[in-house]
Structure formats: C-alpha cells, structure tokens
C-alpha cells in the first residue's frame, strides 16, 4: 500500500536550517538523503495506485529518478513503452518530454492515437561506452490532469515490436 506520511515526515525534518543551507555535517547530510529516499518509495506506490484508478488501467509504473542525468532503464532498453505526464498546475501546459533511449527511430502517439513529431538527439559524452541519445517530443497536458503517450521503436521504418495494446485513453 502507498503512503505519503514518511515523505511528509522527512520533509518536515529537512526544514531544519542546516538541511536547507547545507551546513550540516556530512553524516547528517547522508542521513537526510536516506530519509528522503525512504520517504519517496511508498509515495511511488501511492502515485501508481492513483494513476491506476484515474486511468482505469493497472500498469507496472516506473519512476525514473535519474532522468536529470539521462538515465532510465525502461526507456533505454524497451522497444515500446508508455509515458504518463501529470501536470500539477491549474492550467494546460505544453511540455517537452526528454527521455534517454538507445539509438533508433521512434513512433510517438498522443492520447488520441495521433502521431507526434519527435527527434532523437545524440548528446556528447566523455564516456564512449555509454549511449547518450535522447528522445524529444512535445506533450500537451491538461490542467491538474495527465496525458499518456505511447512510444515504439522502429526498425527500417517498421515497428520493431507490436505496439502496446491500445486502450481508449484520453487526457484526464
């Protein structure tokens, strides 16, 4: 079961001035990080439950915590996946989604099943072993709601695998 109380508590602890300013001892900083990480985990379950209820579909949701450093196991290894974007703002937003992927050509569809323009950008890296391609597409998300986009990798202009079973899914 999901629970937001541990993250609430961790956030409350982190109101202390040495957490806000970073003036704590290193072992205290490590403990703050531990409390935040432990608090986030049951929140992911809570969010998964909420999304399942709102979308009417129970999925194996993945929260990519390392997106800021272009790392996400699911998007980098799967040939098809779904991207759900939740907008906590009280107005519609258009948002550029950036996801690390392996090199290739992708087909992106919006919640209405229409094809969405996308680009794969190859990023410079000092580590030549790592693949640093990122998939970009613009997502439109309603106020205080979410949109689900589907991404499928293509080979030689054809879908590499069957697209995930499509269910009528609109922005909610």
């Amino acid at each position: 079961s999901g629970d937001s109380a541990p993250l609430n508590e961790a956030m409350a602890v982190l109101q202390h001035h040495d957490a806000v300013t970073g003036t704590c001892k290193q072992h205290v900083a490590d403990d703050y990080a531990r409390q935040l990480a432990a608090g986030w985990e049951p929140c992911e379950v809570l969010l998964s439950n909420a999304l399942a209820r709102l979308s009417g579909s129970k999925e194996d949701f993945t929260f990519c915590r390392d997106l800021n450093i272009s790392r996400c196991q699911l998007s980098q290894t799967s040939s098809s996946f779904q991207v759900t974007i939740y907008n906590p703002l009280g107005r519609k937003v258009d948002w550029m989604v950036r996801l690390p992927v392996s090199k290739g050509v992708f087909l992106v569809r919006d919640p209405q099943g229409r094809t969405v323009d996308n680009n794969v950008v190859i990023l410079p890296s000092t580590d030549r072993q790592m693949d640093h391609s990122e998939l970009l597409f613009s997502a439109s998300v309603p106020a205080l709601g979410f949109s689900t986009y589907s991404v499928t990798k293509m080979t030689n202009g054809k879908l590499q695998t069957r697209a995930p079973r499509r269910r009528p899914k609109k922005s909610s």
């Binding site: 929260f63 450093i69 996946f81 996801l99």
Partner: protein, 281 residues
Amino acid sequence: FNVLAIENEHIRATFNPKTGLLMEIENLDKKLLLPVQQAFFSYFASRGDRLSDQVSGAYIFRPNQSQPLPVRRWAQIRVVKTDLVQEVHQNFSAWCSQVVRLYPGQQHLELEWTVGPIPVIDSWGKEVISRFDTPLKTNERFYTDSNGREILERRRNYRPTWNLNQTEEVAGNYYPVNSRIYITDGQVQLTVLTDRSQGGSSVRDGSLELMVHRRLVNDDRRGIGEPLMESGSGALVRGRHLVLLDTFQAAASGHRLLAEKVVLAPQVVLAPGGGVPYNLG
C-alpha cells in the same frame, strides 16, 4: 562560423564564435537586444587574513579576493539543431560544462549547468559562480525574492535600516535567492530563475551572479567542526537557470508564470504498457 546563434520565434541567443561564450540575447517580440556575456568563475576561499582570521566555511562565505577567476576564458562548443530543440554545448573544463537550450515556442533561454567535482588538489577551497555581465546601468541595485512571494530591492553596500560599514566587498553583498534574481535599468530587465535556493549578487553594475557549487577545505569554526568537503571524489551538481529578457513593465508577468511552471513541473512516469483494466470494484 561567422555568427553562431540559436533562435526560435521569440528569442535569439548569439555566441562569440571565438570564445564559445554567450554574447547577446535578443527578445524578438519586443525587439530588445542586450549584450550578455555569461561564464563560470570561482572565488578562492579565504584562509584568514590580517583583518580577520575568519576562514571561508560552510556557514561563512568569505572569498580571499574580490575578483573571481574564470574557470576558463573560452569554451569548447558543439551545436545541436533539430526541429524540436536547439542546443549549444559548452565545455569549460573537465569539471564545468553547460548546455544552452531553446525549444520552439519557449520565451526563455535555458542554461543547464553541470559543475563538479570541484578540484581542491591545490588545497584551496573554491566557490563557483555563474556570472552574467551586461551594460545595463543598474545604479547599484538588484532584486532577489523570498520564495517568490516578495521581491526585495537590494542595494550594494547599503542596508535600509542602519549605516553599514562594509568590510566584505563580495560576501557582504550576497543575498539568498530562492527562485529568482533580476537586474534592470528601468527599461530592460534581465531575470534569472533558479531551480533551487542559491546565493546571488550584483557585485558590479550590470552584473548578476549566482553561486552554483562550493567545496571548502577548512572548517569556519562556527560549530560544524568539519569543512564543507564531500567525501570521495566530490559531488557533481547539475541545475538549471532560466533567463528572461523583457521590458521592465512586462517582466513580472513573464517570470511569475514561468516560475509556476518550474515549481509545479509536470511529473513523468513510465510503464511498459499492456496493463490490465482496473477499477475500484
């Protein structure tokens, strides 16, 4: 290149082709052009001097000289231009790089910086800043916020409620920046939104700086009992500055709406797909 620029329908950012540094920002809607040079600098931490034995530490920011040193005077660059994004990748050193980015329809310039681990092998603590230099006549004034609620006017070497005897030229003019800092000459305003709380200042007229990372080798004797020194090889930090150029009259509506989008940013959740129908029953 003769001219190196990225642009969309609202903004053009021009880079010096020799140095790779940002040179100019233009608001195409309002036909505003502002020379802006942006680069990274580092203040070397004080170890105490004849005026005071106070060293720079976790609590105390005290650089040992008023002029920071550039991380490098030029950046190795790479340009990426596609239909959906235009980016200039700037590499200043092995521990300092930045991507200047523009998406279609976007009214601000995005600067995604990556700094660290700060080298301290020379036994000098360092505090790294991103500095924007413009010719704006700002009359010793700049503006910082308190969680976006109240923007306060800050005046260099001045306090509104007492006669200040300024003894720290740089640190004495640093203020908390929770979400934004700006400078203006009454006509044009340059605003920088941050994605986290940082220290910021305008040490010279037309200049605006934000501290992005710091690593120190000495304890400042204020009770922590250890220097601000990450264990292992050190921390690598990535963050974003969103830069807006607008008229003074229109700037507030622009940075307030943009800040809302930053604070309440969309959350991305992935799933392999093919889930089973779900309802409460």
